[in-house]
């Protein structure tokens, strides 16, 4: 239900509490059992509070394996959530998603090239470069595709947002065609890596990976909510927003840059995780107001919480084997999205 101005201050508090709760539960759950007291004890020890309720082995699993993974899940979920909300706001379309600016398919093509040709191309390269090649290629591919979509949507010196949406759809089709071709030339092993990458995984979570991926995502989480007012105005139309003093071109640049940064960083590290960006903003609108000052922060919190839960399912349902997280988010997201659409009527 839409709320009058200035009500429901507590929604963010409830969502934050639920997200933190999900993160704590995720820390305790897994193939290696950790009791809640052990989790809390091991978390507090580095802060100088010794409860002594855990073993060194438990501390190692928690601090070096599980904690970075849960933190990464929350960050990526938050980044995908707000990217979805920013995209739907920018395109003024509740069916828009971050992929429409081209970043996801561009990143996928970049990653696919490395997965298929990497061994040949980087044969003599140092180890560090070979490890970094995939995320670098994905991030670069995402950035290039975004620039291309914007370039295609330039009409008379300005970016036409409606054309950008169509250019994004076309470029996505092109990107997946390119990946299809790459799949033809890939061997079985490469095909398997590619398939897994396309379905996403948070298995690569380490503190050093986080150190690289977290800053761009955090930046988006901090700056994105500042665009709430202009995005509300934009929902009335580009002209109307202009009449209300919004520099629409600048707003478009900022939205696209933030989404490209967030999704680029997320995809580079975790592969393609579908449906989060599409579904999360709808949930945010259902739970709170449709105004962006509510939708943007709520999308961060809901995205973070949901991805933490999805990743916990991914690594516990068939333990010790892992399910691809993108399969879980799509499996849960698609029917849920259909339900939301039907209930809108």
């Amino acid at each position: 239900m839409p709320m009058p101005l200035g009500r429901r201050p507590s929604l963010m508090g409830v969502l934050a509490a639920l997200t933190i709760g999900a993160m704590l539960a995720a820390l305790a759950l897994g193939a290696y059992a950790l009791s809640p007291p052990a989790v809390i004890s091991a978390l507090l020890e580095p802060l100088g509070i010794g409860l002594g309720a855990h073993t060194p082995e438990q501390a190692f699993v928690l601090l070096h394996i599980r904690l970075p993974r849960v933190v990464l899940a929350a960050l990526v979920g938050g980044a995908l959530g707000i990217s979805g909300a920013l995209s739907q706001g920018l395109f003024r379309n509740p069916l828009a998603e971050p992929a429409l600016i081209g970043v996801a398919s561009g990143a996928a093509v970049g990653a696919a090239i490395v997965l298929v040709f990497g061994a040949t191309l980087l044969a003599g390269a140092p180890d560090i470069l070979r490890q970094a090649a995939l995320p670098l290629a994905a991030f670069t591919g995402g950035g290039l595709a975004t620039l291309l979509v914007r370039r295609l949507a330039r009409v008379e010196g300005r970016t036409a947002i409606d054309i950008m949406l169509l250019a994004g759809v076309a470029l996505n089709a092109l990107g997946f065609a390119a990946i299809g071709l790459l799949q033809v030339v890939a061997d079985d092993e490469q095909l398997r890596s590619l398939t897994f990458w396309m379905l996403g995984s948070l298995g690569g979570a380490t503190w050093s990976a986080l150190a690289v991926a977290a800053p761009p995502m955090l930046l988006v989480l901090l700056l994105g909510p500042l665009l709430a007012g202009p995005l509300d105005a934009l929902l009335l139309g580009e002209r109307e927003a202009g009449h209300m003093g919004i520099d629409v071109q600048r707003l478009e640049r900022r939205c696209v840059a933030l989404v490209a940064l967030a999704v680029g960083a997320a995809v580079a590290l975790c592969g393609v995780i579908g449906f989060v960006g599409l579904v999360v903003p709808h949930l945010a609108r259902k739970l709170g107001s449709v105004a962006h000052r509510s939708v943007l922060p709520a999308s961060i919190l809901i995205g973070a919480g949901l991805l933490v839960i999805a990743d916990t399912l991914a690594r516990t349902l068939t333990a010790p084997a892992e399910l691809p997280i993108g399969a879980i988010t799509s499996l849960a997201g698609a029917p849920f999205f259909l339900m939301l659409l039907r209930r809108r009527r």
């Binding site: 509740p94 105005a233 109307e240 209300m244 003093g245 919004i246 107001s289």
Partner: protein
């Protein structure tokens, strides 16, 4: 101190849709643009609003070219009501009206109060909490009128004639009475009239000639991308001028109980 179009020319492809138009709206003045479909009324309004790139001429706000104003500065002095707006998200009516406060930064309590007063002014105070998407077309249009009034509230209504007045705000309305019922039409035009009476300038595209005659100080009759007649209603609404513009013979009635003429096609 005025909103001025000087020798404004707009082309669409090879077609000249506005041909060297001169127009000025001053503080306290209600100017109505009238004329047949395709005469260029909405184009002129859009060009003065800064939505179109003119092929020639200039738009001046207080003597300064429009493009020299920053978007926000401009938005605090001038608001535009389009013929229709698209908004597919179920904002509350009050939230939509409060969007008019966008040029003033983060919305606060005072902004919600202004939005409520504007909503009362257009006669829809009871709809504040209603989802915008459930309103009728006419109600939506009035909500947007409240929104543009909210945008210009401070310069227009909070002065109350005390002390030195700030520079006048300008309200631009594109067929604000389309899709309104009889009572709502009156309400909308009275609101615009009041905006002019407190010192603002109004430029309004109107189809109903009797409405234009009743509420406007000055009419600009347009045909073929030019202003063919301009002046007080009685001077512009002549049988000859209207027949030339609309291509049909007209009757002009002066009912004794009204202080403005009525026009019907003969």
């Amino acid at each position: 101190m005025s909103l001025v179009a000087r020798d404004l020319t707009v082309r669409r492809g090879a077609r000249t849709v506005l041909d060297g138009v001169d127009l000025a709206v001053g503080p306290g003045e209600f100017v109505a643009l009238i004329g047949p479909n395709g005469a260029g009324k909405s184009t002129l309004l859009a060009a003065i609003a800064g939505d179109l790139e003119p092929a020639g001429g200039q738009i001046l706000l207080d003597g300064r070219p429009l493009e020299d104003w920053s978007p926000r500065e401009r938005a605090r002095r001038r608001a535009v009501l389009p013929q229709a707006s698209t908004l597919d998200f179920p904002f509350s009516v009050l939230e939509v009206v409060a969007m008019g406060r966008t040029p003033y930064g983060r919305p606060g309590k005072a902004d919600a109060a202004i939005a409520r007063r504007a909503l009362a002014l257009v006669g829809l105070p009871a709809l504040a909490g209603r989802p915008y998407t459930r309103l009728s077309g006419g109600e939506r249009q009035r909500v947007h009128l409240a929104r543009v009034l909210t945008q210009l509230w401070d310069p227009a209504f909070d002065r109350r004639g005390e002390g030195p007045r700030g520079p006048a705000p300008y309200l631009m309305l594109d067929e604000p009475t389309a899709s309104q019922d009889l009572g709502a039409q009156k309400r909308v035009l009275e609101t615009a009239r009041r905006f002019a009476d407190v010192g603002g300038g109004v430029l309004c595209v109107l189809h109903a000639l009797d409405q234009a005659a009743r509420y406007a100080d000055r009419l600009c009759l347009m045909a073929g991308g030019r202003i063919t007649a301009s002046g007080p209603p009685a001077a512009v609404l002549t049988a000859d001028a209207l027949e030339d513009a609309f291509g049909v013979p007209v009757h002009i009635h002066h009912p004794p109980e009204l202080d403005h003429p009525l026009v019907t096609a003969r």
